[in-house]
Amino acid sequence: MTSQDNMPMTRAEKKQARRIRRFDNPWINPKLIWGAALLLGIVAIGIIGRFVWNLDLVFTGSAPLKLPPIGFENLRGQPGVLDHPLGTDGGGRDMLSLIIIGAPNTLFVGLLASLIGMSIGIFLGFSAGFMGGRTDDVIRVGADVMITIPPLLILVVFQSAFGDVSLTMMALLIAGFVWQSPTRLIRAQVLSMKQSGYVQMAQLSGASTSHIMFREMLPNLVPYLFGSFIASVTTSIVTAVGLEVLGLGPQRIPTLGRTIYEAINAGALIQNLWWWWGIPTLLLGIIFIGLLLINLGLDEVSNPRLRKLS
């Protein structure tokens, strides 16, 4: 053994050694884990809450008005009570039950819209990149055109024309606006992959188009697809919350955005009812930060150079 082994390892070296010990699995990185934990926390609130909390309190007038969270006092000098640990809103609804129902709803819209949008994007991106020619032209121009149209404004027109929409309907509508970026991304990747050796090898060996698409190319796209998926979840939730804050979106189902809308309209800011708008805002903040962390973590998965930097 030489003297090198006796030298104390620097921090970077130790980190490197730890990384090698767990087989350098890029999927296990702190950003990804923290991000996923934040989102799972929101889901957990929704699931556990349904079992331990009385959800009838979500109806208007089922609780005293404008009670503060425990440990605080509202302007009328009422203290928070244990029956409503997060306080109540101006319509007499329990904030905790609003969150238990509302927060998962927000995630649901984001996930459903992006799942549909991604599926469209994968299909169109592969078709454009693979077939080329006319198909490619149409899809490329279509994606270019749609990418500049802000979804919020089209959906504002839609929802004000149709009035109340269901949560699923809103997700479907948003899905119509989150397929463009994945389409462009996948098309570009497919075009460059088509030139790579293993795809040409598969083509030469007579593999079918669908085999090349889904067995040879798709697995290599997984980190990109995940990243693109998370980005469209963010866009979808931003759009959904935007609609809800404008008073559109589902009218009878509690969502975080609608709670904020009602709070602003009731003048909660001036009346110092901070828990009414603050708690939904905080939860939305957690959702967005969770999504950002996951996205940064996924960047490290797909771009190994970034791993050295952090």
Binding site: D144, P150, A161, V238, G242, V245, I270
Partner: protein
């Protein structure tokens, strides 16, 4: 057009025209698919004002004729499209008989002003911070603090707006809660009016700035890493130029250019976010106009506002695409 190849220009122009046409068409089709009859809404508004309305059938027919919805769909469509080209969206139903274009013209300067101001601030701050994150002479605090602040960039401006509004307007009362200028000031080119506008605009602008600067900073960080190792930077260092001079004139100058294209992709989201900020601050721009129109079911205004905002977005993207080779001579347009 000098350096811009014709194919590229035609390609961009087609995309621009298609974008506007498709957006205008979608906006037109949607209300026609809806079971809601605008004439009945108008009648309902009358009835609400007058208590009861006699001869409602005749009034409905007349209203339909006024709104032009008794004509064949194809005629309606071409009338609408040719109107939209000259920004004629008909009359507002809630603020009858004000033309929609007048309402939009009154709101537009506020929106554009707020947008340009906050964009300039974020662009400068974001890019500077992004550059400092990479620069090897920046203080350690900067390199640790900025990535931490980056967490906020995932948050839409409406949430930061609420928070800032509560802290600085409701609690500390340093800034007014809502509006674009004080109701006690006569609008005009007086110092007190300008002061009032700046005072009112500060919080809306800040709420956009705090959540968007990170987008630029992140992009700049990536670009600076690329520029850092370039030969011309090493040469400048070897020549003994001042580090600050190298940072500004050699590194940032070269790294900043692709950021301008990033702007083109982001502008749609920025405008949509700003519309919401205007709504919560009741700022006199397009956002408030849109929100009031939604409340009043004022369809011509909703259509007009959506159309104009989409138009602004599409035009900005088009301009950025065209101007880019003039800003960055390294880029040659290729006919895509």
């Amino acid at each position: 057009m000098g350096r811009i190849p014709r194919d590229y220009l035609i390609n961009r122009l087609v995309t621009l025209v298609l974008t506007i046409l498709i957006a205008a068409t979608i906006i037109w089709i949607i209300p026609r698919l809806s079971p809601v009859d605008p004439a009945e809404i108008a009648l309902g508004r009358m009835a609400a004002g007058a208590g009861s309305v006699a001869n409602s059938e005749e009034i409905l027919a007349q209203l339909r004729a006024n709104m032009g919805i008794d004509q064949p769909l194809i005629v309606q469509y071409f009338k609408y499209i040719s109107g939209a080209l000259v920004f004629d969206f008909g009359l507002s139903t809630a603020a009858f008989p004000t033309p929609v274009s007048t309402l939009i013209l009154n709101a537009l300067p506020w929106t554009l002003g707020l947008m340009i101001l906050s964009l300039l601030i974020t662009f400068v701050i974001g890019n500077l911070l992004g550059a400092l994150m990479v620069w090897d002479r920046s203080p350690k605090l900067v390199r640790v603090a900025i990535p931490a602040a980056m967490v906020f960039t995932s948050i839409p401006p409406i949430l930061s707006g609420l928070l800032l509004m509560w802290i600085f307007a409701a609690k500390l009362q340093w800034f007014p809660l809502t509006g674009a200028y004080s109701i006690f000031v006569e609008p005009g080119w007086s110092w007190s009016f300008v002061q009032s506008v700046l005072h009112h605009g500060f919080l809306p602008a800040l709420s956009i700035v705090v959540v968007t600067f990170g987008f630029w900073a992140l992009g700049m960080r990536g670009l600076m890493i690329g520029v850092q190792g370039e030969d011309y930077v090493k040469l400048a260092e070897a020549k003994g130029l001042r580090p600050r001079y190298i940072l500004y004139r050699y590194m940032i100058r070269n790294a900043i250019l692709p950021q301008i294209t990033a702007f083109a992709l982001k502008i749609g989201l920025l405008i949509a976010g700003q519309v919401l900020v205007e709504r919560i601050f009741a700022y006199n721009g397009m956002g408030k106009l849109l929100y009031d129109a939604i409340l009043n079911q004022d369809f011509p205004v909703i259509q007009g506002v959506s159309y104009v905002i989409i138009l602004i977005t599409a035009l900005s993207v088009f301009l950025v695409d065209l101007l880019y080779p003039f800003i960055d001579p390294r880029i040659r347009h290729e006919a895509a």
